[in-house]
């Protein structure tokens, strides 16, 4: 048993953290709300660094990485709230095309094209208007479409950086890219990816709030010295502590195609959803009115957390999936 990232995995994560700290400050996330494509413009840098193509074969320009390598990176992208279809392309589409021996995996890994994906429970697809491929799955299998071959009906979302569209597809224009098992794997990969990003978002909201309550004074003392405030933040930290290991364990279960992987992923997504929801609630309460404005940055992270906690399966969906496996 060795339940820890390797030094190499941590070094890669730290390099990504350095890049995003530099390139993706909150102002850049804020700009994505008004950019035409709703994105942070970081795709070339993520391709260059090897993050996008991590799971692609080396022969297709990738790094032959595993979900365990990827989960640490996705957590970091959550921490910085990047607005890019990274879960959809790097965590879902690339391994899907890799397993289907589809040569377009190289185009994805090299950043020549970008894909977005709707899971079986998703009604909307994100950032589709700036993607080249749209992948949709249902219980019978997975189908892939050129973007122009689908109907996209834009729907404004609470997180202005997540460009959502209602997806209309026509079965005659798509190509079958995977069977029912592949559709299940698509869901597991998408849930794992968003769970990882939720961990990063949770930690970021806690960090922001800790910094704020140390600085903010009322009654002549930092508000962070009040026990009521301390206990809110301790609860958020507690939820994060007991979410992380289940998400990392789910990454191993997908990487090793563990027969119980779906239950493991769902358990991780439940914990990550709940931790992020609690952290968002606590962060807002401890900030007070400043957190209730859009001028302050907290809402960028909070709204992303609300969105991702329901994307790729909400808490009830995943908890019941676990329930069916154990009860």
């Amino acid at each position: 048993m060795r339940f820890a990232f390797t030094d190499e995995q941590l070094a890669f994560r730290d390099a990504l953290r350095d890049l995003l700290t530099q390139e993706c400050p909150p102002a850049r996330v804020r700009d994505a709300w008004t950019n035409p494509d709703g994105r942070t413009g970081l795709w070339p840098a993520l391709v260059e660094m090897g993050v996008v193509g991590l799971l692609a074969p080396a022969s297709a320009g990738g790094l032959d990485g595993t979900e365990v390598d990827l989960v640490a990176l996705l957590e970091e992208t959550g921490r910085h709230a990047i607005a890019e279809p990274l879960v959809e392309t790097a965590a879902v589409a690339i391994p899907l095309l890799r397993d289907a021996h589809d040569p377009r995996v190289a185009d994805l890994a090299h950043g020549r094209i970008v894909a977005t994906v709707a899971g079986r429970t998703d009604e909307f697809v994100v950032w589709a208007d700036s993607c080249d491929l749209v992948i949709a799955s249902d219980d019978s299998g997975v189908r892939m479409f050129a973007r122009d071959a689908v109907t996209l009906e834009p729907r404004p979302a609470i997180d202005g950086a997540r460009r959502l569209s209602w997806l209309g597809t026509d079965d005659t224009t798509g190509e079958a890219i995977g069977d029912a098992d592949a559709a299940a794997l698509v869901d597991d990969r998408g849930a794992l990816g968003t769970a990882a990003q939720l961990l990063g978002l949770t930690e970021r909201m806690i960090d922001m709030t800790v910094a704020y309550v140390r600085d903010r004074h009322q009654f002549g003392v930092p508000v962070g010295s009040f026990q009521a405030v301390k206990h809110h933040l301790a609860n958020a930290r507690l939820a994060l502590e007991f979410a992380r290991p289940l998400v990392y364990r789910a990454a191993v279960s997908i990487a090793t195609l563990d027969p119980h992987r779906s239950a493991h992923v769902s358990a991780g997504k439940v914990q990550a959803n709940e931790a992020a929801a609690l952290a968002a609630r606590v962060a807002l309460q401890c900030h007070g009115a400043i957190g209730y404005t859009t001028e302050y940055d907290l809402h960028l992270f909070m709204k992303r957390a609300w969105a991702l906690a329901r994307a790729w399966g909400d808490t009830t969906t995943h908890r019941r999936r676990v329930g069916r496996a154990i009860l």
Binding site: M1, R2, F3, A4, F5, V68, I206, V210, V213, R214, V221, P222, G224, S225, Q227, V229, K230, H231, L233, A234, N235, R237, L238, E241, F242, A243, R244, P245, L246, Y248, R249, A251, V252, A267, V270, Q271, T316, R319, R320, V322, G323, I326, L327
Partner: protein, 387 residues
Amino acid sequence: MDLSFTASEEAFRAECRAWLAANVPAEPLPSGDTAAGFAAHLEWERRLFDAGYAVVSWPPEYGGRGASLWEWLVFEEEYYRAGAPQRVTQNGIFLLAPTVFEFGTDEQRARILPAMAAATETWCQGWSEPNAGSDLAGIQSRGVRDDAAGGWRLFGQKTWTTRGAFCDRMFGLFRTDPSAERHRGLTYFLVDLRAPGVTVRPVERLDGDAGFAEVFLDDVFVADRDVLGAPNDGWSVAMATTGSERGLTLRSPGRFLATAARLIELFHSLADGTERAHDDALRDRITQAWIDAEAYRWQTFWTVTRLVDGARSGPEASLVKLFWSELDVRLHELALDLLGPHAELVDGELASWTKGYQFALSGPIYAGTNEIQRNVVAERLLGLPRK
């Protein structure tokens, strides 16, 4: 990441499982927090010791088998999976022993540890006092130097001493330099509860067992060889023990995994074939409790990997204590909800859930209340100001 146990760890698991299957008493023992039950549990402890399972992680010279932390966790999983008796030696083997290993002299280790492992000498913890609970540094019981006799004379009162009425010895903190700052001037003593001047009064707990005791000390002599660590350095010695108490040593995941598994069995035995089997709200709560037990298991594996790499347990132990104690309450609340009117009964096979519920309620109080633990998390992990 490698999430599998090695072949030798799996072999160890199989060995433990087989021994426990053959040896765990078929009928539950009477509560170890009563006089008769304590004696029955000591007999069980001695069987465990004779078979080499009392303290698997200790070095062989002290009665253990030198098991790794991973093997210890495996043993714990199997122990609770088998429904084996509560460990009435726990305050010695899990709380005092780590401190003796760290701070004791060779003479103390050789004298104290083998008798503790063999359950021929049993230990209770003398921390709390009538005026010092969460605020442990506020203790007032004192030790007075007796140079002529080569030791100390203890005066004062300890309280909420678990199994104090049954144990042979007590480890505790006493104020030996009243002029020093409150965290200094404390000394860690090992006290013989049969010594002249000691009076022990059992106190009945919430569940009706005489599991608590008040310990009165009136001019009780303790020789220098029964001081653990340096005189007046007892606070830092004691803090090593609180880490063990809050962290994984006292409450390993095996305990909660087993409770979650028994809860699922209870659900099936009571709900199958009835409408409740399809009650989504109930199923959701049970599922979440099971997920939480799994989360505790994997958080422990994460932590143990770091410990094996040489990290030391720090304030993270407070997160662990918060989680297991509140999980234990949820697991037992769910069981009582399943039992319905039967939850009122204190006899019969299912009454162990009612008893377990009452015990679980002590978890958020002992080893430092959860309010204090949340302060520790906020101040020492998150860096919020103390004042």
